[in-house]
């Protein structure tokens, strides 16, 4: 069953919010207001949004170094996200985390994580907790194609499969890890094939089709809630930008490949889909939605700039919980 038109619009809004948020983050990074390392999710928005639309507030997810999309899709507050990028007190992590480490535990977002595959065991522990709670909650691990070659992927999937943990393992196969193409590092064409080794379903989906992603996510979530264990979902997708926003970053990918994938824009695709559903969506509505989004992002920036930097001595706080 396709999601309602309203739900589709919500998905569109989230995808566009991710994109606009990152466009602004990139600008402000280059302007010197945001520091360190920023990895953009642009082009892959359909994955986080399609999956998280299948979740409740009680379900848990973990993101990657490319984590803004996961946060926004799970419902994080743009203001506190942007303030974190700005390194301010009002940021989600009081300025301690930055782009690579945004979390909102109150909505089940267990954090972006800067270690490739490092988040997979952690969220698998949240899946174990969900199972022990017995409330039908699920947990979702987002990770890249690169992470699927790392040890923690294997250890976690084996445990989750054996214990039938209520988990989704969502691989964002964007065909590259940093400067290295997946074709040079992946011994299989399809990462979903690895599911065989754990006796669980492995599903391949067009990661640029939010409705398709949502459908497989719904199915996997139902499976997980029913106690039937984890699903490995491989989303074929692509990042539009360089690995990070650092100036003069190398980019080993061909212009043709990038252009080809930009034509498969997941946002344009959903807009098209909504428009072709007779009477569902007008140009004006789309423009209005985008304007609203831009406004919310402007508001987030204003909020961030108004928030003070943490005192230098705040570096000493938060080492331990009480």
């Amino acid at each position: 069953m396709a999601p309602s038109p309203q739900m589709q619009r919500d998905m569109l809004r989230q995808m566009q919010t991710i994109r606009r948020f990152e466009e602004r983050a990139s600008d402000d990074y280059h302007a010197g207001d945001i520091y360190g390392v920023v990895h953009c999710y642009i082009g892959e928005e359909a994955v986080a949004v399609g999956v998280c639309a299948a979740l409740t507030n009680e379900d848990k997810i973990i993101g990657t170094h490319r984590g803004h999309g996961h946060c926004i899709a799970k419902g994080a507050d743009l203001k506190r996200m942007m303030a974190e990028l700005y390194g301010r007190e009002a940021g989600y992590c009081k300025g301690k985390g930055g782009s690579m480490h945004i979390a909102d535990f109150s909505i089940g977002m267990l954090g972006a994580n800067g270690i490739v595959a490092g988040g997979i065991p952690i969220v698998t522990g949240a899946g174990l907790a969900a199972q022990m709670d017995g409330q039908g909650r699920v947990a979702v691990s987002f990770f890249g194609d690169g992470a699927s070659n790392a040890g923690p992927f294997h250890e976690s999937l084996n445990i989750a499969a054996k214990w039938k943990l209520p988990m989704l393992y969502v691989c964002e196969n964007n065909l590259h890890s940093a400067q290295t193409p997946a074709s040079q590092t992946l011994s299989v064409e399809d990462i979903a094939a690895r599911a065989h080794g754990y006796g669980i379903p492995g599903v391949i989906v067009d990661g640029n089709d939010v409705l398709a992603v949502h459908e497989v996510a719904l199915e996997a979530v139902a499976r997980a809630r029913a106690g039937d264990g984890p699903t490995l979902i491989e989303c074929k997708t692509y990042r539009w930008r360089a690995h990070t926003e650092r100036p003069n970053q190398p980019d080993s990918r061909s212009e043709e490949e990038i252009a080809k994938w930009m034509k498969k824009d997941p946002i344009a695709r959903l807009v098209d889909h909504l428009k072709t559903q007779q009477g569902q969506f007008s140009d004006a509505e789309w423009e209005a939605m985008d304007a609203e989004i831009l406004q919310s992002i402007e508001a987030a920036v204003t909020f961030s700039k108004a928030s003070p930097f943490p005192a230098p001595e705040a570096a000493l706080a938060d080492l331990y919980a009480d």
Binding site: G97, I115, Y320
Partner: protein, 318 residues
């Protein structure tokens, strides 16, 4: 008070806490039988050999309201989980600005003497001390182990309990009633006036034996057991050294960048204590080599009461 082995005191601590709090569960590659029997296979899980996953899963479960215990068993096996320890568990509370708590107990046996050779004979606690964000205990008696483990389980942070395998069979008095031992409080195992011996884990007992020998020679040695390495009770160590003017550290880890170096430096960087120092500090540690298999070589590597006493005589003759 009952006489209980170090091993049993540890098991008792876990069982009593698990009875008290249903949110505690236990992961290890083989499940400890008495706990399985009492608490069932769901709370006491035998896992695949995947310590990296277990270590990380504890973090995720902790953030979901549980209080996991992961027994790595030998510290050796913790090294496959080092990313989860150093990059995740130690930093996750801090880097997310203190949003969530991660109450986790990790246990690991350390030490040598079992002819288990290089890979299975290690005492690398100082490596973990260097990582900000962990708390670290290192008990020397059944009483201390039980109390420290209970404190660890109730703490809202990742705590590592390092436990010398030489101590597991050792018996000691342990009260029936519930008690805890605060972190960061050293215990003076023997009072003395001429020299402070800061001793760790099994070496506490070697130091006490050395102190006995030294007493016969007219030397009064104080034996101080820090009990927790992080936080370290630097105040107690410094106070003792200000009293005695001399410091020997007995540790069965190697010296290089070891806990022993940290303890020495806590003393020598403190102006007031430095002013009282009458002799160079002395580390009585394992030799800085991997641990060899053959008994004669292995025994040669480790410190013992004889070397501790010799170390004390050396600083006294300065």
């Amino acid at each position: 008070m009952a006489e209980v082995s170090f091993f049993q005191a540890g098991m008792d601590a876990l069982a009593e806490e698990m009875r008290r709090d249903a949110k505690i569960f236990h992961l290890s590659t083989d499940a400890p039988y008495p706990l399985v029997d009492e608490f069932g296979e769901s709370r006491v899980r035998a896992t695949p050999i995947a310590e990296s996953a277990l270590t990380g899963m504890a973090i995720g479960a902790a953030s979901s309201g549980y209080r996991p215990i992961v027994d790595w068993r030998q510290v050796t096996f913790a090294f496959v989980a080092m990313d989860q320890i150093v990059n995740q568990a130690a930093k996750i509370h801090y880097m997310f600005g203190g949003q969530a708590n991660f109450p986790i107990l990790y246990r690991a046996s350390v030490s040598g003497g079992g002819r288990a050779a290089a890979q299975h004979s290690q005492s690398p606690y100082s490596m973990f001390m260097n990582v900000a964000g962990l708390k670290i205990t290192l008990a020397s008696t059944p009483y201390d182990l039980k109390g420290l483990l209970k404190t660890a389980i109730r703490d809202n942070n990742p705590v590592i309990s390092f436990e010398s395998n030489r101590l597991y069979p050792m018996k000691g008095e342990v009260p029936e009633e519930d008690y805890t031992i605060p972190f960061g409080k050293a215990d003076i195992k023997r009072e003395g006036a001429d020299v402070t011996i800061v001793a760790l884990a099994y070496q506490v007992h070697e130091a006490l034996a050395a102190a006995q020998t030294l007493a016969d020679e007219g030397v009064s040695a104080e034996v101080l057991d820090p009990r927790t390495l992080v936080p370290m009770d630097s105040a107690a160590i410094r106070a003792s050294v200000r009293k005695t003017g001399r410091l020997v550290i007995a540790d069965e880890a190697g010296p290089t960048a070891g806990a022993s170096a940290e303890i020495a430096t806590l003393v020598t960087e403190d102006p007031e204590t430095f002013a009282c120092l009458k002799a160079p500090v002395k580390r009585v540690c394992a030799l800085q080599v991997p641990i060899p298999y053959s008994p004669g070589m292995e025994d040669h590597v480790f410190p013992d009461r004889r070397r501790i006493a010799a170390g004390v005589r050396a600083v006294l003759s300065f």
